[in-house]
Symmetry: C2
Subunit: 455 residues, 2 copies
């Protein structure tokens, strides 16, 4: 082990208390991005992060405006022959409702046993600080081994509405060789995890129109096709009985899992029973020829996110609704194209919708799935780092969700993301009593020290 590495690790181990106190300081700032009342807190938090970056020796630190909350930028680029690592993070947090379910103040970070409780401790102020702590330890033991850029945004928890434009407009400034994104967690505390696949997303709104205004169900029932019923009939036809999606040619571009990939899925510690517990249902559903992990990680879905029609209040109203609406989204896998999926849904509707109703399909968003090349230097560096700290080969996970910034990095900056993180599945993300498991967090700091020095 190099001197710098050991010195940095020693420094990190000696400064655990300092690191924890600094994290508590950051978590105490109520940076709730969705609530305008916290706009000043957002500004203060951005300034806190900027100050901290400067203290690390990062230069050109700036709080850059966007159409929404600002981005904290910074860089260090004294090694022209070395790669540039873009460190992505977000300083905003989820709202705290329902506040009455919190056992400690969400912005009064509190240690209970091995955990630190507070809003954003795991998602992702703790992850941001793990990276900065690792860099502090490395800086103490020498110079940074790679060039660094920072993009710490303030709108992740509201869907990063300004980020795409910001990256586009600052393409040159952000030019890098890879992105480190610690916003993906671990499968479990004993399972070091690299997330290498994310599903894409295509989101639609389908509206079915019948009569031009609500009719009296007694006077029209039996002669007018009820739009709510027509919508239900269309939705029901979107899957077969085995959970297969019935849009025309939908599976044509779905990449088939290799034997090797299926072996990797089988190696994941999460069983179908674990999913039953996690989801709070009695029975799983979906394509039975795939395991639950495969279905979530590597198979496309079509979900009804919402549905609305007619009278939905208390009691009864005998209305035959004029229209019905569904929010429908598809999780996409390689090599599906969101535009093509939109066309497939349009074709499905053209073929299946009866003449008794009129329909409109609107595309609300679309992003393809992403798969990171496991042979790229960043992934190799984090894999070795995780092995050094945990002593086991990391688990490679394909996650069901979508992280738009990962596709933005790919499409705009043409760089891959190294997706890891040190949050745990039971950290209560987006829920009351969010926590961070401190022993895992300290391991995370060690891992990141190794990561930067491995590149």
């Amino acid at each position: 082990m190099t001197d710098q590495r050991q010195t940095a690790l020693d420094y990190a181990h000696q400064h655990k208390t300092d690191f924890l106190q600094t994290l508590q300081e950051l978590v105490a700032l109520p940076s709730v991005s969705t609530d305008e009342q916290h706009n000043l807190d957002m500004q203060r938090t951005a300034e806190w992060v900027a100050t901290h970056l400067k203290q690390l020796g990062i230069v050109n630190v700036r709080i850059m405006p966007t159409e929404g909350h600002p981005v904290v930028y910074g860089e260090w680029s004294e090694l022209p022959d070395k790669p540039v690592v873009l460190i992505y993070g977000h300083y905003d947090v989820q709202p705290v409702d329902p506040i009455e379910l919190w056992r400690t103040g969400p912005f009064t970070p509190t240690i209970v046993g091995e955990n630190l409780y507070g809003r954003g401790v795991s998602d992702m102020k703790g992850q941001v600080m793990a990276t900065l702590n690792a860099l502090e330890a490395i800086a103490h033991a020498g110079t940074f081994p790679v060039n660094l850029k920072f993009l710490i945004e303030g709108e992740e928890e509201i869907g990063s509405p300004s980020l795409g434009k910001f990256i586009e407009e600052n393409k040159d400034l952000l030019k890098s060789d890879m992105c480190l994104n610690t916003d993906a967690g671990l499968i479990g505390k004993d399972f070091p995890t690299i997330t290498f696949g994310l599903r894409g997303l295509a989101y639609f709104e389908l509206r079915v129109y019948g009569p031009d205004h609500d009719l009296h169900s007694g006077l029209a029932g039996g002669v007018v096709h009820n739009p709510a019923q027509a919508l239900a009939e269309l939705i029901a036809a979107m899957h077969d009985q085995n959970g297969r999606i019935m849009l025309p040619d939908f599976y044509d571009s779905v990449r088939v899992l290799t034997k090797e990939e299926r072996d990797d899925f089988a190696r994941l510690p999460t069983t179908d029973d674990d999913y039953l517990d996690q989801m709070g249902v009695k029975e799983l559903w979906g394509e039975s020829e795939y395991s639950a992990s495969e279905r979530i990680g590597a198979r496309p879905t079509l979900e009804i996110n919402g549905m609305n029609s007619g009278f939905t209040g208390k009691g009864q109203k005998t209305v035959l609704p004029a229209w019905a609406m569904a929010k429908i989204s598809c999780r996409l896998v390689p090599d599906q194209d969101p535009k093509v999926v939109f066309e497939q849904l349009q074709r499905f509707l053209t073929e299946k919708a009866p003449k008794t109703i009129r329909w409109e399909l609107e595309k609300l968003s679309g992003a393809p799935a992403s798969i990171t090349d496991l042979d790229q230097p960043g992934v190799k560096a984090i894999a070795a780092a995780l092995y050094s700290v945990w002593g086991v080969r990391p688990f490679y996970r394909r996650e069901g969700g979508s992280i738009p910034v990962v596709s933005q990095m790919q499409t705009i900056l043409k760089i891959e993301s190294v997706l890891t993180g040190f949050g745990l599945p039971d950290d209560n993300l987006h829920a009351p009593n969010e926590k961070l498991h401190l022993p895992t967090w300290y391991r995370g700091i060690d891992t990141l020290i190794h990561f930067f020095l491995n590149i």
Copy 2:
């Protein structure tokens, strides 16, 4: 023609202007039953009606409290050997929204051409006044030929929530031989109409439960049965492709239409094309072996009155909803029993619902269909009256809607209702610019003079 009849008709013809002015006075009272702000107007309107009854020579006139708006009661019973006619009506009106679409003030009754415009002119202040005008004309020409009771309620437009209890508690007071209900309209101005059949109603709320809270559609999509989808699948299975309802044994108790009944339906002037226009759709739907009139009048339905699940706001939210809900109602025909239909829907769900979800079915209300015996004296009296005025044999209609008071009269007071009225299909009931066709209204007054003298 008897002297009294001709004298009464002459009186009615001479007092057209007075009748119209009195109606305008009543329509100017904004008796909107659904809006608490109009509670004082409701009281004033009840008093107006009571005063008018007293002026006609009706005795024991009382404004009787209910749990909601009061009922105006009155009676005249000086002919112990003659039948008692219970005159049903309502003095409340629908709300006026959307107010901006009215061309004249809803409570500023305005004559334009042959029509009087204003909220409640047709539904049903005009009908109530037609009856009172006829009785005024008869009284001028002699004494009333039958005994009279009045039940003029103030909650019809909010579903008559207090009426059942009121009738039950005043069974003796309301004891009568028949009910005259002029709340059913004409098929068209040249088509005198007797409504002899009304469909019943069974109203349900179905809730489908999946996970115990909303899940992230990326992390759960593909392994959890989406409750919105499951609900859609159940709803879709409730009809076959020909519009037939698939609840088990649903049609077992549906009375088969006789050749004679189908001939009567075929004689109705309303064609399937008329329904296309009325409903504002391009194509009709439903059981093709029955005409639209038959489907509305004599066939049961299952309608989705409302549907709700997950995220229904603007934009997108990637949620897998925890539950989904539908309001479902069946229009019933003889001899269907609402309790049995509830059991049939329960059996359908027990058989069809997958184990991946949990469901709950709640019964919100139930009333059987009603068919009036065409041979009863009241129907014969109104049929002859309509023939005298229009010169054509009246049309016998079975209507798709349900009038709960008709079943209440049958089940509690054991009397049949004579269902007629002088509103037209284009009167904009429950909509802006409600109107009353005055020439038809005057014919209605003549008809009711004949009716009372025919009994």
